[in-house]
Symmetry: C2
Subunit: 479 residues, 2 copies
């Protein structure tokens, strides 16, 4: 009803109707009232539509710099660029040094030896050890889960384990978690049963001969075996061949290896608060990406959105009570050293961090915010987000938010939010060579920048900050 | 109306209604009447649903044999398999020797030298010459068409030409023709203006970092320059960099080369006609595929459908008046030596070829038949196809049919038909490494086999064959 009226009579009607609905709470909220917030939103929308600032930042980062895995030249170049870009936007950026894992990809080849000799398309999982230079050759054994693997027992010894699990498409990306768990823990679980290698059906929702990398880990005291992801088609072929009952023998060669930790940095900039500059709302995404693609959806979008949110507010002269800090984290993909480093370096100030918002689920249209904070927070964020109705579905708010990089602030009780994106197509390209600028819709990116700017402003301008995460819920559940 | 009745009262109603509509023509047609044809169709549908014969053939051909470019071991293996499979189905297959081009892919790498150094994903176009071993490095110049290229004139000299044209998705695949023309003729057109290499945005409708190969040619007397297709993302990146006005320098290395012609063969089998065994209806697809994928949609599907159509009829004891011959052509992709070879070897008998039907537009649901023949043929085929209403959209018939392999029979006036498939997603995977079994829907494949078997039977059992292509329309327009 309200929307129908809006379409017929324009924005003024929406403002009046919303006022009617929220008049009481708005009046009591001081400068952070509904009319003020709606005016701010309108200015943000207009400025971003004209400037396309988020798009321009993302285009440079992905087209001109490209892949930026921690420790790589691209990552170093991205730090320089982000610093310069913050300067151009009128800020005084700070780089905070961290040491990051420096893993490099080498040769990666694989093939079926028998019964149907064929090349297989693989890509090493991040942090995998290499095979010997001549590769490993072994029979394959298949498991759909860690439980299935365990049940295979002695059948695993001397084999390469194929973890075969078909990822389901989902707007919220809910099927990624179980897959990522398999990817992260599979190699050690297999090695404990005597396996010599691990292959994984790529965690992806499109079959286009496109292997998806992603990080894995090794348990202490368990032999480290090489691990790689297969293109969906090739995993499916192995699955069908195994189903026929024939022994399937494969060869795998990986040249990837870990170099000594490299020096890197988080990059950040502050929009100083009007009355409480010593209190912070952090907004951010991660500057590193996997090496295969250009990191447009993961997470160039989050970087562009966070940088642009800060620029929008500055350009429009919108200065909330508290400081808004954009943090571009390094090393989300394979170590979270940036997220941990920020929390450590600012441990003493985390009590003054009133919220942190991360954008790291792609560049799809915004579908709202997730919130992890103290009692009543979800309702308060929902009340703020109400005005975002013209911006995709950014006005929806649900319980449970955060992000890998801001996760380490959880132990200090900092209210954690995620700016959520529609992930329906995210896992088609996530962690692949096809994570490129063309996967981003400029309008959706602009909507995300606006939603981030708006929420950051509103949170930083609250009379009273959101209640902090209760003491008994502060264990860091992020990876 | 007719369909609504069918849904409520079942198949009998359909038969009665159809009888009412076509009673006159049906009664005059002897054994090839509507009731007989509908009974035959019902038996074909039932047998294929139970046997899944087409699927099983395709699964073996693609999973167990895989890529089968002319002259390759896979192509040779496919010939052996097809021969054995025809035997298993109760036929006495014949292989007819032909000589085929033997082009092999080698190293293929490319990259941006400046302004944004980056790997580019390329694949050589079929029949391309190699670059020197160290590759070629040159500035890029872009053209959207051969006309645009020509307009560039002297600006092309010494450059690598990027043909940039974004292919449109289309159920009938109509946008492939213009793109394929550019792919085939682009290199010589560019070389005539002094270009040193050619790059093409892959002819495809999905951006998933997946280069599409395909054949190209060289004009006599023009320098032969290397030619490759770029993954869509990489072509888009080059396009954006060029649009910014910066000079863009790229490096291209191709190791592909042409070996002496190799011995190969068409494979064929006959279901002997009941009264006119010396007259033929040819049905077929092509046994060769590109080397990158497993040739499931191009054209394992056509092979499986043609072989299975013959088996279905034999298994069900359905013997039409004339002989139905399944021909699995070799070398459709880069030379049409199989199609030309068949027409030459059977030149004397082509007068006795009453029709030829090719299936080579994928494995999508059937959307009908295309017909190129004498006056009244489309109507006659449409009348036959009417009964196919339960089989996808196979009952639609349009003017204009044929196929690359049966095209050489055109000069003899043989009525040419195509079994057409829905090509909406065909060019997502066509000529790529992702042309694999998982792209095929078993039900759609079965529908195609049934449609082919039915049409072949009906054409071979006609009282009077379709009128032949008029003399003045017999020039072979197929490539």
């Amino acid at each position: 009803m309200r929307l129908a009226v809006l379409r017929r009579h324009g924005i003024l009607i929406l403002i009046v109707l919303t006022l009617t609905t929220f008049a009481t709470s708005a009046r009591s909220a001081g400068p952070n009232d509904t009319i003020t917030l709606q005016k701010i939103l309108a200015r943000l929308i207009g400025e971003e539509a004209v400037s396309q600032g988020a798009w321009n930042k993302l285009a440079y980062l992905t087209d001109r710099i490209g892949p930026r895995l921690s420790g790589s030249p691209g990552a170093a170049e991205a730090i320089v660029w982000a610093t310069q870009e913050f300067h151009r936007d009128g800020f005084r950026p700070v780089t905070e040094k961290i040491m990051v894992p420096h893993w490099v990809r080498g040769e990666e080849t694989a093939g079926i030896v028998s019964p149907a000799p064929r090349k297989l398309l693989v890509t090493a999982l991040g942090m995998s050890v290499p095979t010997p230079p001549d590769g490993i050759t072994a029979d394959l054994v298949e498991a759909g889960s860690l439980d299935e693997l365990k049940a295979l027992g002695e059948k695993v010894r001397g084999k390469i384990v194929l973890f075969y699990r078909v990822m389901q498409r989902d707007r919220e990306g809910d099927d990624y978690g179980p897959g990522a768990n398999l990817r992260f823990r599979g190699a050690s679980a297999a090695a404990r049963l005597g396996a010599v290698g691990m292959l994984l059906r790529s965690l992806g929702t499109l079959s286009a001969h496109l292997p998806h990398t992603g990080t894995m880990g090794y348990e202490d005291g368990v032999e480290q075996i090489p691990a790689a992801a297969l293109a969906a088609e090739d995993a499916d072929l192995l699955h069908r061949l195994l189903a026929s009952g024939d022994p399937v023998r494969v060869r795998l060669t990986l040249g990837c290896h870990l170099l000594p930790d490299a020096e890197s940095a988080n990059v950040m900039a502050d929009l100083k608060g009007r009355t409480h500059p010593e209190e912070f709302v952090v907004i951010g995404g991660h500057l590193d990406s996997w090496d295969l693609g250009n990191g447009a959806i993961d997470d160039g979008a989050g970087v562009a959105v966070s940088m642009e949110a800060l620029r929008l507010l500055k350009t429009l002269g919108l200065q909330p009570r508290r400081t808004i800090r954009a943090v571009l984290f390094m090393n989300e993909e394979n170590g979270t050293r940036g997220g941990k480093g920020y929390a450590e370096a600012h441990r003493g100030e985390l009590e003054k961090h009133v919220a942190a918002v991360e954008s790291d689920s792609g560049a799809g249209p915004p579908i709202g915010f997730g919130v992890t904070a103290g009692p009543g927070s979800v309702e308060r964020v929902a009340s703020i987000a109400q005005a975002l109705e013209p911006v995709g579905e950014a006005h929806f708010v649900k319980t449970g938010g955060g992000g890998t990089d801001i996760g380490p602030m959880k132990t200090a009780g900092v209210p954690l939010l995620s700016l959520r994106q529609d992930m329906t197509y995210y896992f088609d390209y996530h962690h692949t060579a096809a994570d490129t600028l063309d996967k981003v819709d400029p309008r959706a990116l602009a909507d995300n920048a606006v939603a981030m700017a708006y929420m950051a402003y509103a949170l930083a301008d609250l009379d009273a900050p959101l209640p902090r995460i209760p003491e008994d819920q502060r264990q860091d559940g992020e990876k």
